[in-house]
Symmetry: C2
Subunit: 418 residues, 2 copies
């Protein structure tokens, strides 16, 4: 999950009715092919034009029609991430809905590269969304903790593997605290589960050349040799045969991957390989990036605690970070603000509300009032604090209840009802 990027509110108007998210080019985006824009699993920088990214990656826009169909199939309202175009792109989700309607259930696959002990708000969003999908489709979820990836790709080359394993266990608590159904959720640390993944890892590795991964991921010859092979480890959980116990040996269970769009290269590669292995291509749901507190073109960084709100931040710290660091689209002075209103497209408090305030009417009201200059920056920050404080504190309470035994239950290799 990338920690930086752009989720402009112009593409996610609070006023848009459920099932009809706006999805044109976001405000402020640079032209396609801008060399300052980089989107890879390890780096997201520049102001991303998501429409251009869809063309560039060859995915499909997640249309209002598809969102509406998803509502019909699940019999429940779409998640606000769908209503607001935060999940904006997909591959083959229409086919997965066909299969689902024909009675063939899919499983969901998501993951986390453990690089910090606590998740921040940006890390949380794909798990919130996957939890919604689990509930909506009553689906099995598999969650990969890539301690191997973080070990191989970390710039801190002295950091031991055990450290990433420890972070993975910590992250497991945050993930479980999102409310996944323990009966239908399997979480695994790569170094624990590699024995089951390895046959498919090998099959995928044999089908992909270094020239291909160089093109897809930008690897170089001075990279360590673990990096070159790793994409197959992230690809393998897309094959249901990687979970022989979970799925009783079934090799044909379809897989749906919700992820930030920076992870797409892994799955483009996977979708290229799976047909050669006689397996089904995974479907994908792509999200935009969650912006850093300081705004677009700044990074959420583990080494700069003020760049993000972490799930272990106290209510006090949340309040302080928002008031002190959240980039504002409001006027420079109260007078100017009253006269010209706020630019909500770049305003972090507003944009965070699009992620965490479920109430469309209230969000619309805030947008209108703030854009018109009737609501002040201090007031929208207070509104965000009012949303985030219970969210973070509730999360902390649920996380505190996640014992080692609970993690072990989620990580137990066991049969599951599809």
């Amino acid at each position: 999950m990338a920690s930086n990027g752009d989720a402009p509110s112009s593409a996610a108007p609070a006023a848009s009715p459920a099932g009809a998210p706006a999805r044109d080019a976001p405000a402020g985006a640079l032209p396609a092919g801008d060399p300052t824009v980089v989107v890879t699993p390890w780096e997201v920088s520049g102001i991303v034009d998501y429409t251009k990214l869809i063309q560039q990656f060859g995915s499909s826009p997640l249309t209002p029609e598809l969102v509406a169909r998803l509502e019909r199939v699940t019999g429940r309202p779409a998640h606000h991430f769908l209503r607001r175009g935060i999940y904006f792109s997909h591959r083959d989700v229409d086919k997965m809905l066909d299969l689902h309607e024909a009675g063939q259930k899919f499983y969901l696959y998501t993951g986390r590269g453990p690089s910090s002990a606590s998740l921040h708000l940006g890390h949380l969003t794909p798990f919130m969304f996957t939890k919604y999908l689990q509930d909506a489709f009553d689906a099995v979820v598999v969650i990969q903790l890539t301690n191997d990836e973080k070990f191989l790709f970390s710039k801190e080359t002295k950091r031991p593997l055990e450290e990433f394993t420890r972070l993975g266990r910590e992250n497991a608590k945050d993930i479980i605290a999102c409310g996944f159904n323990p009966e239908k959720t399997f979480m695994f640390m790569d170094t624990d589960y590699i024995g089951s993944l390895y046959p498919n890892v090998l099959r995928i590795q044999r089908a992909v050349t270094y020239n291909q991964v160089k093109g897809i991921f930008g690897f170089t010859d001075s990279d360590n040799i673990g990096k070159h092979g790793f994409p197959a480890v992230q690809a393998a959980p897309c094959l249901s045969s990687s979970f022989p116990v979970l799925f009783g040996g079934r090799t044909d269970v379809p897989c749906v991957v919700p992820c930030a769009i920076d992870q797409d290269p892994y799955f483009r590669m996977t979708r290229d390989v799976t047909p050669k292995l006689g397996a089904r291509k995974p479907a994908l749901l792509h999200s935009k990036f969650f912006p850093a507190l300081q705004g677009d073109n700044t990074k959420m960084s583990a080494s700069d605690a003020s760049s993000a709100i972490y799930l272990d931040d106290s209510g006090k710290v949340v309040k302080k970070k928002i008031n002190k660091h959240a980039f504002s689209g409001g006027g420079a002075t109260v007078e100017e603000h009253r006269a010209k209103g706020a630019n909500v497209d770049v305003d972090i408090p507003y944009r965070y509300l699009t992620f965490f305030l479920d109430d469309d009417e209230e969000l619309d009201r805030i947008r209108t009032e703030y854009a018109a200059g009737r609501m002040l920056t201090g007031e929208i920050k207070a509104a965000l604090i009012a949303v985030l404080t219970p969210l973070v504190e509730g999360h902390q309470a649920r996380r505190a209840a996640v014992t080692d035994e609970v993690i072990d239950q989620f990580m137990a290799v066991r049969p599951m009802q599809l």
Copy 2:
């Protein structure tokens, strides 16, 4: 284990006393740096100059003094592979003997890439030698079956992984039939045991760049991405921490690897990496190559059954292969042979006898008589048949007794007494 190459008898005179193998450049060897000579784990071709190879690889000659010391330390005569210079090169074996004398026991590590259902005589030799070392040092042996390697490197890109696993199980029978001590031998299929190897595989992979493996193994950009990472899988068993159950979590047990010298690149890489991981460099014992039936510069090939004697060949087939295909250094006619004698350096029956006839006096007698033309080609072939028939038939009887249960016992992950 390479299946082709040159083990010239001139470097292994039967007359040389135990502990004093001749080790000069073998007859017929081309000058060093000859571009027609290739020695990699996947290709051995050309007439190899073993003395030059020692210089080129930076290993040390296995001197008569070291062999004599090995005899003193073990209190038993050196194996004829040592007496005759078939094992001719080493790295750090002297240090391992120091440790052994100081009471620190090492373990032995060898392996097999399962590419054929039956082993041939050339495949057998490292296991014969490892079994001798096990007995001489009362040492734990770990045996890696690299079904992953053969899957990734096979030119038959449609051949399924399961096929290499099946061949590995077949090979396990041949290996067990060599007489390894079941109390002190752990055999593992990579796909079964990767869960335990993986942490060290990752540590090794992180410490090696693609530039390095390109230089060592000659990989290219159009190779599949599994190949680039595989050397770490072969390296990992050199670290005793890869066997936490066997060695009770000890990370400091020294490792000695007997192998054909074509495998040295793996262990040069390993010895480069281990100090960075705080682990001890493995010691190595290098053998020359076992020649194909048709003689030097021909290959033992699974697709040409007449190129090698397989351990499942019947006595009749062994006899026929030797009489029909074994390259002879004898005279073209009986008259010429009587007059000029045989060239034992290129004579396959004689060279095979250096591998399989333990009796130094008898081998010396045969060499003298044959070289002088008093023994005929048919007679030396009969002598070889008389040695190999009971060897192969005895092996077959022992192999027949190796049930799946026996394999599973050798493969059980269990504590071992060093």
